[in-house]
Symmetry: C2
Subunit: 356 residues, 2 copies
């Protein structure tokens, strides 16, 4: 088998050792005589998987006992729904930062439950920069929601912004990519299919005092408190997706967030430098401080190069670099699992293409 060099935005590349161990567990989990797909979610084996994975997330994020780590179904959009359901009263207001497509989806979901204030937006610039962080944030807001990394447009908030109200962050596309003061969030969450593991589950980390702030009666499946009380096993969880994520968490811990961050910076710098040097392309995000280390977005100066460069890459075994339909051009996703050598390969292919 010749593995593709896969720059897909998500579901995305996973390390080969994670795939190998996940495949083995589908045949037999840990000498149990059962597949990981067949073990009971109420048994000791799965208890251990939940416990180890929650502890690893807590450790990787530098959390103490003030936060609870929850495995959830449903990806990011279920969180877009549950956050306002749980925390935004019908007569209340929540603040949202509109930094891109997913940020906008999140705020639209909130409008079904209460008043939404868009505190900052870069929509008029087609999201090619981060919106300026609001100077004055009303203390009356139930929370402030923002998206740390904007996958489609290639922008990223690296530092934790100043915020006096409960700060909630969607970290779906850059969790574990860099050191961050994770403990300062009232809540952060991420759909798995980038740096956590395969599609099919999500992680929500919530400061415990938030669990008491629920503003409406909700059936248990939609109430964070109920998931916390049941230790993420309120109902049958997506066992395989959580186990594959545990394998990825172990990989992340073995490498260490500091080393991962360093390599992510190297990969991003290499690619942005080439985009700027190469006469055929230009970077979509001009402000260097706003650029994402996870998704590098650029455009061909000459429209004809768009499909031609995609084809050229495909002949070199490189896939997944077509930009999102709402942004066009190219998007190269270089999540934690993407090795430096594959980014070097792409850079050399960009150089070859220029000479061609």
């Amino acid at each position: 088998m010749k593995r593709k060099i896969n720059f897909n935005a998500g579901p995305a590349i996973l390390p080969e050792e994670v795939l190998k161990h996940a495949a083995e567990a589908v045949i037999e989990y840990n000498n149990s005589g059962l597949s990981i797909l067949e073990i009971s979610h109420r048994g000791k084996a799965f208890d251990n998987i939940i416990q180890e994975s929650c502890e690893l997330i807590s450790e990787l994020c530098g959390l103490n006992n003030d936060h609870t780590v929850l495995w959830m179904h449903g990806g990011g959009r279920l969180q877009f729904s549950m956050i306002p359901m749980n925390f935004l009263a019908q007569n209340g207001s929540a603040g949202y930062i509109d930094s891109g497509h997913w940020a906008e989806e999140a705020l639209e979901y909130a409008t079904y439950y209460g008043d939404v204030q868009i505190l900052a937006s870069s929509k008029e610039h087609t999201y090619n920069r981060l919106p300026q962080w609001p100077e004055h944030i009303s203390k009356d807001l139930a929370y402030l929601h923002y998206t740390t990394n904007n996958t489609i447009y290639g922008t990223q908030y690296k530092n934790v912004p100043d915020c006096k109200v409960p700060l909630i962050a969607d970290m779906s596309s850059d969790i574990f990519s860099c050191k961050r003061d994770y403990a300062s969030y009232a809540m952060f969450y991420a759909a798995a299919q980038k740096n956590i593991g395969p599609a099919g589950c999500a992680v929500a980390v919530i400061r415990k005092d938030m669990l008491q702030r629920v503003v409406r009666d909700l059936p248990p499946m939609l109430r964070y408190q109920a998931h916390a009380e049941q230790g993420s096993v309120l109902n049958t969880p997506p066992v395989f997706a959580i186990y594959a994520s545990l394998l990825m968490l172990r990989w992340t811990k073995a490498k260490g967030i500091a080393a991962i961050e360093k390599e992510n910076n190297q990969k991003a710098e290499l690619l942005y430098s080439e985009v700027e040097r190469n006469s055929l392309f230009h970077a979509n995000v001009k402000r260097k401080e706003d650029r994402s280390t996870m998704n590098v977005c650029f455009t061909a100066k000459n429209k004809d190069d768009e499909s031609a460069f995609l084809n050229f890459c495909e002949m070199q075994n490189i896939i997944g670099i077509k930009g999102h339909r709402s942004a066009g051009g190219f998007r190269v996703s270089i999540y934690n699992a993407m090795p430096l050598k594959d980014v070097q390969k792409l850079v050399s292919v960009m150089q070859e293409y220029e000479k061609d």
Copy 2:
């Protein structure tokens, strides 16, 4: 590897060929140079998986174009929430049949959204029989919800009951187990982890006219219509769980529902006969017409035999027969993937234990 004989209630046994193909796909999907965990949910490969799996469900259930087949996140409880959210207005009423733990959970979830009428219940008999189907069902009900198979108590509705209002069925533990007039339902649904595939996804089949009956404003993730419009890819779906389910659907089709039903009846008869013959046990469900072909529940006449028989089975490589905590005793789950020979083995172990 010595495979356990796994009578777990769910996640449950899967055929070895399904596990083998699923494991292969985790390493590489279909010569793509990518793992099934890495393919894009917007690409042709996954389009084909969604399309084939929906067509197979439609074919297995004998549906025509009047129904739409949806892959969902979140297991049964998300459906418990979404059904009343979508179909039960705040000033409306829905009818529920209370035939067991899951039926009761479903109706409790509905109370958050509107008025719930319990039309029949066997709770006072600790659910050891099916409640009598109500004779008069008000035409004003938004829908009538029931659970076809009660996993914990071992009862099952085999025929489609008479109903003049939209009939909604939770078939989580017996879908595809027998021929049924699936087309007569306004909606039926099932969490995957029994006869469909591994935990991590659910199937909802909805008659298209129901999609127009939505009674409240809901964010897209919680609106059936939005999932239908997006062909089950409203957001990143649980790709692996759906693919493994497709493998199971192919297995189901190759065997055929008629043959599966025949074997399920054989397996159930064999086991109920032994429970009745064996001097140490008695069946929990006395009414033969109410007995489930999926979960055979029985009790030891002598309390001491409870843990002793479990241990005896474990020494014979048999696991998963402990009854649910709310019912006690034994529960033997014999879903579609359970081979007849393993039920024969259990029967011979019951006989040995009696002689011992």
